[in-house]
Structures are given as C-alpha cells and as structure tokens.
C-alpha cells in the first residue's frame, strides 16, 4: 500500500521521463494511447514518403500536402508542450540534414524530365534583399545557439546561396532590392523540376524527423510495456522490451562517463588526426561493454532474488491506458487521409490548384 503522501506526489507530478527528455503530463498528446501515437507516426511517415515521391509525369510532389503535414506536426508538438525543448536542442541540429537533402536532390537529380532552368553560381552582382535577411538571420540564430563563427557561417552562407542561385529570386525586384555589381556571371542549368523536388524533400524530411521526435518525446517505456500486455504478450516478453528501453539512457550515460574519463586522462591534449580519433573511440568499446555485462549480471541476480522466475499474475502497469473515442477518431481520420492520398492517388496540391 502506498502512503497517501506518495499517492498525492504521484498525482501531482507535472513532468515524467520519456525516451528523450521529459514531457508535461495532462496534455492531449500525452493522453493518447501509445498505439495511436505509433499509428500516427507510421501514417504520417507513409504520407510524407508518398507525397514527395509522386513522379513529375503525374503532377509532381504534393508540396501543399507536405506543408500541411509539417504544420500539423508542429501543432502537435506545441500541444504536447515540447516545442520549446525542440527549438532549444534539435532545431539547429536538423538544419544541416535539411540543407543536405536540398543539396543532394538539387544536384544529383539530373535525370528529371522536362525543360531546364538557369541557375547562378554567381549572378554577377551582390544582391541585397531577402537573401541578406536570410544570411543575417540564420547566422544570428546558429551563433546564438552554438557560439561558433565557423558553425554559423556554413549554414548561413549555404542558405544565402540557395536564395541567390535561382534567377527568379536574384533578378526579381521583390526579392532583390539593391544590386552591387561584383565579378562576372557564372551560370549552369538544371531540370526545371529539380528545385521543386528538392524543396519537397526538405518538407518531407521535416515531417519524418519531427514525427519521430513527437513519438520519442511523448512516450514512456512503461506505456509500451502496458500496450504490449494489452496485445496479450506475456509479462516476460513485455518486460524484456521495457528493460531494453529503460537501459538506453544508462548506456548513453556510461558512454559519456567513459569519454570524460578518457579526456581527464589527457586524451584530448594533443591535436589528433581522424584515424587516431577513431582508435580512441575503439578504446571506449572495452569498458563500455564490460560495464554492460557487469550491470546485466547484477540486474539478473537482483531479478532472480525478487522471484522473477516464479512470477505470475503480475499487476498491470499504472501507465497502461484504455482506448478512448479520441484514439479511434484520430486513427479513422489518418486512415481516411491515407486512403484519399495513397490508395486513390489524389493530391492536396492539385485539389487546391484546380
């Protein structure tokens, strides 16, 4: 029996630990069943993959659909009260991935059909306009987060160049307010669709990344254990899955501790080449695995001592939820959207642009 003060303490908990970070209790997303959340990320993942893969011959990627999906993901993150954490930690980290996607899909997609379009390595002038705002804005944001000039310069110059490169931007008076002639023009041509496809990949990857984070930031290991028991998996199997997820953070912490110990023993004093750094990493592996084995044997003995082998009639997890009408509604809406877009082959962009 729990003391009444313990019950009160549990009930008044405002934050609980999730896979990564912690989440605020009582939000609508937190109240969803873990199966609903899983279905949600699967459905949104399929939708994003389908929307950015629609061939040019069938109208091209569903840009508006992808933008709406991304907006929906951000709304859900905001409702789950995780947006601030994401803005503080993952926003800057995600930027290079999205830039990388844009770069690869712009330059490594030359077999696209249709007319070709002129792009500029350098338009022959220094444009002052939206591109300048992008340069200063991205530099400021990344510098604020990283305090590194080099790390801030790379994405800001790259993004600035992406806004200068298309002729429609640099030669438009709406985007470029002042032109200062510098050097000569360097241009190249790419399929007309490549920029649209690259942009759709950025939106699609945004959906994939942020829906994954939505799940990881709002799900607890015990919820998964409870859901597996609801799916009639035995206690031993569901507890195995929980053990796996519960120890994830511990192992990451072990890795950090061992790295810190290496640094404390002057591993970082001399500037090393990449090969030496790789060997350093190899030397982390032995204590890391040894710690894992030691912890496993200790936990095994502890479980055995507590009668794990003879366990039966186990009480359900407190975090186990019942399926509510909200869960059914969300699953139905997403299933309908999947049928509309993927099975029937409609596109939000073509629906709105008709």
């Amino acid at each position: 029996m729990l003391a009444s003060s313990d019950v009160e303490a549990r009930a008044s908990k405002k934050y609980v630990r999730t896979f990564i970070f912690s989440m605020r209790t009582g939000t609508p997303v937190e109240k969803l069943h873990v199966i609903t959340k899983f279905f949600m990320i699967v459905a949104m993942s399929i939708l994003a993959l389908y929307m950015f893969s629609i061939p040019v011959s069938q109208g091209g990627p569903d840009i508006i659909g992808l933008a709406l999906l991304l907006l929906l993901t951000f709304v859900l993150l905001a409702i789950a009260r995780t947006a601030k954490y994401l803005a503080n930690s993952y926003l800057v980290l995600v930027l290079p991935v999205l830039l990388g996607q844009f770069f690869w899909w712009l330059f490594f997609n030359w077999s696209l059909p249709g007319a070709r379009m002129l792009f500029y390595f350098w338009p022959g002038f220094l444009p002052i306009g939206v591109s300048t705002v992008v340069l200063v804005g991205v530099f400021g944001l990344v510098y604020y987060k990283t305090r590194s000039v080099v790390l801030s310069l790379v994405p800001s110059i790259l993004l600035w160049w992406f806004t200068v490169m298309p002729g429609v931007f640099s030669f438009s008076s709406l985007f470029t307010w002042v032109r200062i002639p510098v050097g000569v023009v360097f241009s190249f041509s790419l399929p007309q669709w490549s920029a649209t496809v690259a942009f759709s990949k950025v939106l699609g990857f945004g959906v994939l990344i942020y829906t994954s984070f939505l799940f990881l930031l709002t799900t607890r290991d015990t919820e998964i254990g409870g859901a597996l028991k609801q799916l009639r998996l035995s206690f031993r199997k569901s507890f195995f899955v929980m053990l796996m997820f519960r120890n994830l953070n511990t192992i990451l912490m072990d890795y950090e501790n061992i790295r810190s110990a290496q640094i404390a023993r002057a591993a970082n004093v001399m500037r090393k080449n990449v090969f030496s750094r790789i060997i350093d990493l190899a030397y982390v592996s032995v204590p890391l695995v040894a710690t894992m084995i030691r912890r496993s044997t200790e936990m095994g003995v502890a479980l055995y001592a507590r009668g794990f082998e003879a366990s039966h009639g186990i009480t359900d997890y407190k975090e186990t939820r019942r399926f509510s009408y909200v869960d059914f509604t969300i699953i139905a809406i997403l299933a309908a959207f999947l049928i509309y877009e993927v099975i029937l082959g409609h596109s939000i962009t073509s629906l709105l642009m008709r």
């Binding site: 991935v97 195995f240 053990l243 790789i278 912890r295 044997t297 936990m299």
Partner: protein, 234 residues
C-alpha cells in the same frame, strides 16, 4: 558401433570451440542473467547506432554514417550471443540509426534489414563451416597465437574475417540498405554510388579497427563467465 561413436566424439572435440554450434542451445531455458544481458545488449546497440550516425556530425543523412562503428559491436555480440545479435542489430538500426536521428519509422523498419543480414550469415558461416575448418567462431584467432593450447591460423582467420564480413556481407548489406533508401526516394536519384561507397567504407574501417580490440579485451572474460551462447538461443 562403439568405435564409430568414439570417432565422432573425437572429431567433435577436435577444437576448443567445438561446443559452439548451430543448435538452438543447451536445452536449458534462458536464465535471468541471460535474459537481462540480451535486453541490455540490444539497448547498447541502439545507443551505439545512434552515436555512430551522430558522432561525426550533428545528425546523419538518412541514417548512413561515414564511420558506422556499431557494425563490429553487433558482429561480435552475434558471435557471443547468437540470434540476439542480429535482433539487436535490427532493432538498433530501426531506433538508433533511424527514429532517433529522424529517418522516419517506415524507411527505418525497411532499411534496418541490411543490419540484420551480415551478423546472421556471419554466425551461420563461422559456426556451421569455418569452426570445423579450424577457425575460432569467437574470433580469438584474430589476435591470439593459440586458444586453449591449440595453435591458431591467424593469416587465414584475418583473410576469412575481411572477406566474409568486410567484403561479401558488407556489400550485400550496402546493396540492401542503400537500395531500399534509394527506392524509397530518400537518397537522390543519381546519388546511389556515393552513398553506397560511404556505407561500405564506413563499415569496413570500423570493423577492422574495433573488432580486434573488442575480441582481445572481452571474449575470454565473457567465455569465463559462461555467457557465450552454445547455439542460436542460449
């Protein structure tokens, strides 16, 4: 008959590793320690998969790393703990190199098959074939001159180790992994080869550097504690 039995028995015990086979196990249920150990090694592979794709950059590009240092870990774990190694490799790739770095659930579930294949077939080849030819399925012959008094074939061990794990299985894994990501339009249409080469080199370099360190440092300890699987399950 008894002579035949004696011959068979002698052949089976020709090497100190002859008790490591492709049977299901020793006919015993999974002990509590093994149960925790298998779950922990999966957790370790998830964590290391995540670190593999983030350690040389803020976040990966579609789960592909230029130094995928979890590769030797799940190969060695498979040699120690049988089927739990490939299972760990698959789950580790889905969660650590997929969901945690934002590759998305559907692509992650599909391309993680590429991490299941190499350890699975390495286990089959080493325990089913090479162990009988005098090569240690726990790979101690990569670093030691002798194992339990039996002289090892180090050159041959390195040859098979690099050929099987670094070339053949790595190529198959790369074709499956990059192929699935390419087919799902996550890798750009004309960018298959750069990413395929990155995959192969990333796995090969990590395998050659880390495996001997892991084997030399830990295999004897794991074996002494009775934690090496005799078969697939236990």
């Amino acid at each position: 008959m008894s002579g035949e039995k004696k011959t068979v028995s002698n052949t089976k015990n020709k090497y100190p590793w002859s008790n490591y086979t492709l049977k299901w196990g020793r006919g015993e249920p999974v002990s509590t320690t093994q149960y925790v150990l298998y779950a922990m090694q999966i957790a370790a592979v998830i964590a290391l998969s995540y670190l593999s794709v983030t350690v040389f950059g803020p976040l990966s590009y579609a789960g592909i790393s230029l130094f995928y240092f979890v590769y030797p870990f799940f190969l060695v774990f498979t040699m120690w703990w049988g089927i739990w190694g490939p299972i760990g490799a698959y789950i580790g790739c889905v969660i650590g190199a997929g969901l945690l770095v934002g590759t998305g659930i559907v692509p992650s579930l599909a391309y993680a098959v590429s991490d299941f294949v190499p350890p699975f077939f390495a286990f089959v080849l080493y325990r089913g074939l090479l162990a009988n030819k005098g090569y240690d399925p726990l790979w101690r012959d990569l670093t030691d001159k002798e194992v339990a008094g039996v002289k090892t074939k180090r050159t041959g061990a390195w040859f098979w180790f690099v050929l099987i794990n670094g070339v053949i299985l790595n190529l198959i894994s790369g074709v499956i992994g990059v192929g699935i990501l390419w087919d799902m339009k996550i890798i750009a249409t004309n960018a298959f080869w750069p990413w395929f080469i990155g995959w192969i080199v990333g796995d090969l370099v990590a395998m050659v550097i880390i495996t001997p360190v892991l084997v030399k440092g830990l295999t004897s300890l794991v074996e002494r504690q009775g934690l090496v699987n005799h078969g697939w399950i236990t």
